[in-house]
Symmetry: C2
């Protein structure tokens, strides 16, 4: 990952991606002035780059500003690792959704330092809590069910990176002591299932299971999320584990 905190890069590509990554989740669109403010780029430079990005449909002009475009969405969907996993997972996630009527997630750990959870797919329960996660969105690994499920079945170096970056407290129940997290991961390895009880968001619980490769390493994780005071994690553990084992088997068979 490129560090985006310093002055804007000198290369054309660097400047173009500085502009694209200046868009955040809440931004429906941004004005040229706001894009210059966020990126530190001179107005003439930003204007010229955005015009060319618009020619490629990577950004779209609106009456009052600019927004990320359809072409970027389409290109992003071609990223093969994410696509292959999501397509193989789709029937397992659909089964789980039908069986439980709770919100279902598929997530991976990204390759960054520290590794974070990125959601690849989500099926929204029509009742239950409005879960803040979104497809393509990120969360810390140490305080989410999917994150802990994957950390438990990853090389020790992955956990070391997470610990080195520090365990951020997100709620009063977030586990921030490295020793406690380590012990919990050992229990997850034993049972094959990870639980989260209001560790990332107050009021929300989840139960997750890892999707494993032939060497027993986590490729992804599947979870069910619901109200902390209502989700029967013990009851749902077998359903999530069954779906994750089924997907693991399918992925191994397709290699």
């Amino acid at each position: 990952m490129v560090d985006t905190s310093g002055p804007p890069p000198n290369s054309v590509l660097g400047r173009a991606f500085t502009l694209l990554t200046a868009f955040r989740v809440g931004d429906a669109e941004l004005t040229l002035a706001e894009l210059c403010r966020r990126t530190g780029l001179p107005k003439a430079t930003a204007h010229r780059l955005l015009a060319e990005l618009a020619d490629w449909d990577v950004v779209e002009r609106t009456p009052t500003g600019l927004r990320l475009g359809m072409r970027l969405f389409e290109l992003g969907q071609l990223a093969p690792h994410q696509r292959g996993l999501r397509e193989a997972a789709a029937p397992f996630l659909a089964d789980l959704f039908e069986a439980t009527h709770e919100t279902v997630h598929l997530a991976v750990l990204d390759g960054g330092n520290p590794p974070e959870v990125v959601y690849l797919h989500k099926l929204d329960a029509t009742s239950g809590p409005k879960v803040q996660s979104r497809i393509g969105g990120r969360m810390p690994a140490h305080c989410t069910g999917v994150g802990k499920a994957m950390l438990a079945f990853s090389p020790r170096s992955v956990l070391d990176q997470v610990l080195a970056a520090g365990l951020t407290r997100r709620t009063p129940r977030t586990v921030i002591a490295p020793g406690l997290l380590d012990r919990e991961l050992a229990a997850i390895r034993e049972h094959g299932v990870a639980e989260e009880h209001e560790e990332s968001t107050v009021g929300i619980a989840c139960v997750a299971a890892p999707v494993l490769d032939a060497d027993g390493r986590a490729l992804a994780a599947i979870s069910i999320t619901g109200w902390a005071n209502r989700l029967d994690t013990r009851r749902f553990a077998s359903a999530v584990r069954t779906a994750a084992l089924g997907l693991s088997r399918t992925l191994r068979a397709s290699r």
Copy 2:
């Protein structure tokens, strides 16, 4: 849209996006040699650009080549038009999926010429046919249920672009006569529902309804897809229409 059929562009950005758009659906990864062959770029140029794209996690190096990266997937998910629609649609699509147990799609028309269908979301039925559509994938508008539902509720100029490009025959049942398509669109305007009977894919049928803005123009479409000889399109028409009307109302209320 930039024409990608000619010689490679001279600008750095143009060359970078020529490289990124050289990846197709079937490509898990490409070698540098294959990327040069597809784009017409000299090896040294392609190598330098790909190294910078890899610094931004836009492409990822593999032991044998290069693939589109996680960062591109994440950026694409931020495209606001697609994201807002998909998030508003998620509960309606989930309801429809639970009620019908068939494959459910959400699609829009892109802004290209001719306009084409782009799928924003898909819930895969665990039984029924394996539908070839994919999130972020495209289909012609004239032969798909969602495409016809949107063409019927779009300005005449949109249909004119589709007709000018020619109605490609995809199956023996594809409607390729402009007059027939025009008449069918009039019927769709009257009933608020579009059907497709093996017009894009042999063996597959679908029923679709448009998501409309306050002026009665199509913003998107929702469909249910199944086996042509089994899908009871008449029975499902009211379910699809109800979901599309509900989403239309939700989108109008949020503006």
